[in-house]
Amino acid sequence: MVSVFTEEHESLRSSLRAFFANRSPESEVRRLMATDEGYDRDVWRQIASELGLQGLIVPEEHGGSGYTWVELGVVLEEMGRALFCAPYFSTVVLATSCLLESGDTAAQKEYLEGIASGDVVGALAFVEASGRWDEAGIEMAATADGDSYRLTGEKLFVLDGHVADLVVVAARTGSSVSLFTVDKGAPGLTTRLTETLDQTRKVAVVTFENTPARLLGVEGAGWTTLSKVLDLAVVALAAEQVGGAQAALDMAVEYSKIRIQFGQPIGAFQALKHMLADVMLEVESARSAMHVGLAAASGHEGAELSAVAPLVKAYCSDAFELASHQNIQVHGGMGFTWEVPAHLYFKRAKSMAVFLGDSTQHRERLAGHLGL
């Protein structure tokens, strides 16, 4: 597997890096993470109108630019690096791919243009009290009500659920799973923000009380759609994780050059050198996995997405955890403070390690693919 990124991708990367350095510096991240909304509406509109980021994978006929997951990967890597606070993952990765993968042209027509223009924030309500990220975890029932459906129940860990204009919901119709769309303000829909370890990423509890919902895609095909969306989502998450892991490694290396103890920079101590050499091996390995994942998500020839996705999730989660953990260790007491941003990466790494399923669960999935 050689790099999936071309020179154009690298120039996209440098302009994004400059943009985030300017519009999402650490001070902005800290300001926004302390708010309930968790993002800046002006910047959200700006990344839509000036950079077209929300419409990146939206087809041109729906007001997007029809790019692939490779381009999206560049964007997410840079967002992960900057810890950019916005409902981007929930809207573009989760909600948009549910719309696209469902094949529901009416719903696509209704929502995608708004997503691309930055007017619609989306979310995916999937996990319930069991905390399971699989089909069996979906117990909430949808009851038919004429042409439409009604939902009652509670969904947890809904990324940006509190600011969503569109909530895609997974629920049971009979024994199988179907997907539904619910608009903000629908009767019986309430959202409650939960306090999170990673404050840069907001999570809500979303409750439905006899809430009217529209079927998305074909009844009973919800899990087929959702399992593909989840495979795409872990690859997208991996790009964010690689961006975050590289940022944590860079921070650790920088600090090791300026902190003086025993008459020399601490980076001259081999214990720290070898620790960070090992981190670099993991970050570069994770990056390779991410490349293979992005290629598979974009339908390039080679590995099958459903086989690559669990590998990518397990590897990139572990690598980000290690890099952000060792960054704190290198910083010593400073690493344990609120003031130094090492904890921001660490908390992102920790919460994303369990989001969408943890490493052991994904390795178990891969074990199945190996014929075990």
Binding site: S3, A277, M280, S285, A303, H369, L372
Partner: protein, 418 residues
């Protein structure tokens, strides 16, 4: 040859050439033909029996040879032992050797007349700190006269040539007074003694050099510039070694691999899955986790090597590919060795020709140290990664900038072979 050539065009040329020349016999005449046509080492320069092709184009050549079952192409890319010599020593002679040496040595190596060689780098007092080597070469007319002791030199006892590092100036700091030579080992004054190693085999040697003569045209690169030449050879060695060792552990297992629509992700784990099955532990979730972790390490290692060695900012990426790759290989080889021994249960207590399974698995387990110690230890790779790739500060070393004559040196006199 032009690197802009389209892969299809190149493939066609190779096919035409094969149609005309390959008669199904791997004899001397065939080998010479392959070498003279440039197929034996397509990435080498054109004045050293190569075609100056990129690695990916060379692979096109290799694929055409493989397709018709013709051997000897692309020795500059292969994982075998002889390929290793081509990739390490053949490469530096091709790039930096004087014309006479280049034309003879590279040709002999590629044709197969020089496949027994020794890398004479390490010494009893110069291992990781190889630049501290004490073997001396002194100029006497048109020959260098060499005296000293080398150790851990891997290869046959009756090797015909050696790649030698020797000190040619003691009055400069240690890295600046070393030269790189190709030396004839079939001469008086060369004594090669086998060392019995951890596995019970003897694949490396101690070499004693007493007034050994090396013609001046056998210097590779400039006099006192041997350290730079060595870096090229070692970089190649680091990439080759992991490929070589991993290819041994997995070859007999590739047949009957679990192949599915999920390839290539699912390929290449058959040896691990089989070991677990034989042990009746394929349903044990801890074992399943281990297998997937090992398999994942193998895959990402391949991907990273490919990605970094094909990157355009080559110099830095090549260092990264070699050092990160070698470290990744160590982890894979040691962990796979340990896993297979575990899966064998009490049979892993056995060894020797009467206990084939125990012998194979334990040998694989022990040979993993070849990668983590040989060719620069894992610790040295981590030093390279942190200092040269991450740019972390260099450690304080008492011998920096001091003439070799004046630094503190080890004085161990070892005679391991007894």
């Amino acid at each position: 040859m032009d690197n802009d050539i389209a892969p299809d065009r190149l493939a066609e040329q190779v096919r035409d050439w094969l149609a005309e020349n390959w008669r199904g016999v791997d004899d001397r005449e065939w080998r010479e033909k392959v070498v003279l046509a440039g197929w034996a080492a397509p990435t080498f320069p054109e004045n050293a029996y190569g075609l100056g092709l990129s690695k990916s184009l060379a692979q096109v050549v290799g694929a055409e040879f493989t397709a018709v079952g013709a051997p000897r192409a692309c020795q500059d890319l292969g994982p075998g032992v002889v390929d290793g010599w081509v990739r390490m020593i053949g490469l530096v002679v091709a790039l930096h050797g004087l014309p006479a040496l280049r034309e003879q040595f590279v040709r002999d190596l590629l044709v197969g007349d020089a496949d027994g060689g020794l890398a004479l780098y390490s010494e009893p007092n110069a291992g990781s700190d190889l630049a501290g080597l004490q073997t001396r070469a002194v100029l006497d007319g048109d020959h260098w006269i060499v005296n000293g002791q080398k150790v851990w030199s891997s290869g046959p006892l009756d090797s015909t040539w050696g790649a030698l590092l020797a000190r040619t100036d003691e009055d400069v700091p240690k890295h600046q007074g070393i030269s790189f030579f190709i030396v004839d080992l079939q001469q008086p004054g060369v004594e090669v003694r086998p060392i019995k190693q951890i596995t019970g085999d003897s694949e490396f040697n101690e070499v004693f050099l007493t007034d050994v003569r090396v013609p001046v045209e056998n210097v590779v690169g400039e006099i006192n510039d041997g350290w730079a030449i060595l870096q090229v050879a070692l970089g190649a060695e680091r990439e080759w070694l992991g490929e070589y060792l991993e290819s041994i552990g997995r070859t007999e297992e590739t047949a009957g691999d679990h192949r599915s629509a999920l390839a290539p992700i699912a390929d290449g784990a058959a040896d691990l899955v089989r070991a677990a099955r034989r042990a009746g532990r394929a349903d044990d979730s801890a074992i399943r986790q281990t297998i997937v972790q090992l398999h994942t390490w193998r895959l990402v290692h391949e991907w990273t090597t490919e990605r970094l060695s094909s990157a355009s900012d080559s110099a830095q990426s090549q260092v990264a590919a070699a050092a990160l790759g070698k470290l990744a290989s160590s982890r894979i080889l040691h962990s796979v060795g340990r896993f297979k021994a575990q899966m064998l249960g009490p049979e892993a207590m056995l060894y020797g020709p009467e206990n084939r399974t125990g012998d194979d698995v334990n040998r694989e387990m022990m040979n993993a140290f070849t990668n983590s110690v040989g060719g620069g230890t894992d610790q040295i790779q981590r030093n390279i990664i942190s200092e040269r790739l991450l740019g972390m500060p260099r450690a304080h070393t008492p011998d920096r900038g001091v003439p070799f004559r004046d630094i503190r040196k080890g004085t161990t006199q070892r005679n391991i072979s007894g």
